[in-house]
Symmetry: C2
């Protein structure tokens, strides 16, 4: 595909700041009316988290919790939440990024007290739940460790780089997926798919073997379980560029679940949309691939097997013959294999033989 | 500084291949003479590893182990080592990269048997010891997770990118330090120092606050303990560009040791030079900084304290009043602090106040 339409990055920023303002004015209006201000937040308690098979992710139910300044037990979390909104507003308008750890320590600069980081993390999740925006939208980012490579032209929106562009093949080791990349606009691409890879070693192999050209793809190194911002970025690539997403992981329950979380998200993020890509496809390494390709394997250990039984009962794995079949096969063969196991047929076998076959098979 | 002279990347590649050929011809010549071939390798046993305070790193002593094809117990490791040299030669001449994991699986493509990966790892270390080159010189790379940002123009030497250049400020999240970057030639830089940072979050903060311009520096995110290729890359920046190296870590025994390994290397790498930068400086967060800056802290736990006593006896920490003083202070205050703790004085305090002071203090 050619030039893409501008995404909604600027618009979204506007929406985020407006949503925070709305929260502030809502509190002020209640105060003006002479009532103790109250904030209503969708409940994140376990009984209010349900898996929705239609949109293929966890969502929150109808329950709501109220935080009222009238209630002495609520005063602290109420104040903390108001502070978190203030701090997020500062970050967003001053265009500074931070981390959950930073938020915890920054509170001390405002003489706002949190008992520990868990408490401040929870308040940030409250703010996400209340506003429907991700903490990354408030410039609170996780540590970067995933990377991208491929023919995508982006235009930065971060200070000092506004309007500058980069083609993501510029650096053949890959560039980090951080605040600057995730806030960039997509300008154009010749890729017709996204390939997300669990491990950095295979990402490097794919670049070296020219997979981005041969299969017109944007390559993403997840670095294990993909961080939230990378998962949201994969969703953007899918939605804004209309690209199908294929995921390649190790052939074990952990790799399988890395793919699943990209596809269906996690219960922890039931209060958010757009962190997952329901149409993404787990293309391998399947348990059946281990058998078909006679891969060198290691035995599943007890923890692996326990995990497989958990996944078998997990709603995200229900109603899908692929997942169920692969779980059964893992339990049958009681073996697992890494992506690198294909090297037993030579370093390029995975690119020359396995990849094209699987891309076709899972199309 | 301006334009730098070309480094010895091309020359080194030439040397590596020649060294492997020499190993091969040496074996052939012995066979031609009708004797069982023997390979002599410096011993890596503990008693042959000594700390050399002059060059400030571990080195191997005079002991040598012989592997003779005559000895039935030596035949397997002898053959494995010869195969490892063959495979390394293929990687280097065909310009393909791989990993230790790949090496283990690739052996099966040659019907070469290793009991487990530990065995193949050891053989690669034998090859390093025998040749004096790092496995990265044979294109066997660790997983990438560290990144760089700053005004350095590089010229690639990897296939498909020969002669292409990149300025390392092109992507404001940073670019990965992988095979393409570490094999690039340095063209020019305006930086006058290198700042290596333990954590990605602070690396992002430094970029955002323009530290690369304000302090004319190349910024490196170590991603925790810096991978070997990143440590070797820091050494190249120091040696080829004559840049002093400052290291910023968390204020705890683990952060302190991350700095120490960049400076003095590890006993495991006693058979190699150029993985460490003896002139690099640990600039903070010191235990004395925790006191001076009244940072928010966590208590040292038992494992932290045990580690401090180990480090106190470690030869790399001897004869240096700074390390000894800081270990003593940690043991006295029994507290530790993360780099993010400075956020208690506002997000930019670490850049506006702490960093300039420490750069001056440790110059």
């Amino acid at each position: 595909m050619g030039k893409t339409s501008k995404s909604s990055i600027a618009e979204k920023k506007h929406d985020v700041v407006n949503r925070l303002k709305l929260l502030g004015t809502d509190i002020y209006e209640q105060l003006d009316k002479g009532v103790f201000p109250t904030i209503n937040i969708p409940s994140r308690s376990t009984e209010n988290i349900n898996y929705d098979p239609n949109i293929r992710q966890y969502i929150l139910g109808e329950r709501v919790v109220s935080r009222s300044a009238r209630n002495i037990r609520h005063v602290k979390p109420f104040t903390q939440l108001a502070w978190a909104a203030l701090f997020s507003n500062e970050l967003t308008t001053q265009r500074k990024t931070s981390t959950l750890r930073d938020v915890y320590y920054s509170a001390q600069a405002y003489e706002m007290s949190f008992t520990d980081q868990q408490e401040s993390n929870n308040i940030i999740t409250d703010l996400e739940t209340l506003t429907g925006f991700r903490r990354e939208d408030f410039n609170i980012f996780p540590e970067e460790r995933s990377a991208i490579f491929g023919d995508l032209n982006i235009e930065y929106t971060v200070p000092g780089y506004e309007g500058k562009t980069l083609n993501l093949t510029s650096h053949p080791d890959g560039v980090l997926i951080g605040p600057a990349l995730t806030s960039s606009e997509f300008v154009s691409t010749n890729a017709d798919k996204v390939i997300a890879i669990e491990k950095g070693a295979l990402f490097t192999r794919f670049i070296e073997e020219n997979v981005h050209n041969k299969h017109k793809s944007l390559l993403i190194s997840c670095g294990g379980q993909a961080p939230r911002q990378t998962r949201a970025f994969i969703r953007r690539l899918h939605d804004e560029l209309n690209l199908p997403v294929y995921i390649f992981t190790d052939g074990d329950p952990w790799g399988m679940h890395i793919a699943q979380v990209i596809i269906s998200g996690s219960a922890n993020a039931a209060h958010l949309r757009e962190l997952n890509t329901p149409d993404a496809i787990w293309s391998g390494v399947w348990a059946t691939d281990i058998v078909d390709y006679k891969l060198p394997t290691d035995p599943l250990d007890e923890v692996d097997i326990k995990r497989l039984y958990e996944l078998q009962r997990d709603p995200r794995y229900q109603n899908d013959p692929l997942w169920q079949r692969e779980i059964k096969m893992f339990l049958k063969i009681k073996r697992k294999a890494e992506q690198e196991a294909f090297s037993r047929y030579g370093l390029t076998y995975i690119v020359d033989e396995y990849l094209p076959k699987k891309l076709k098979e899972t199309k």
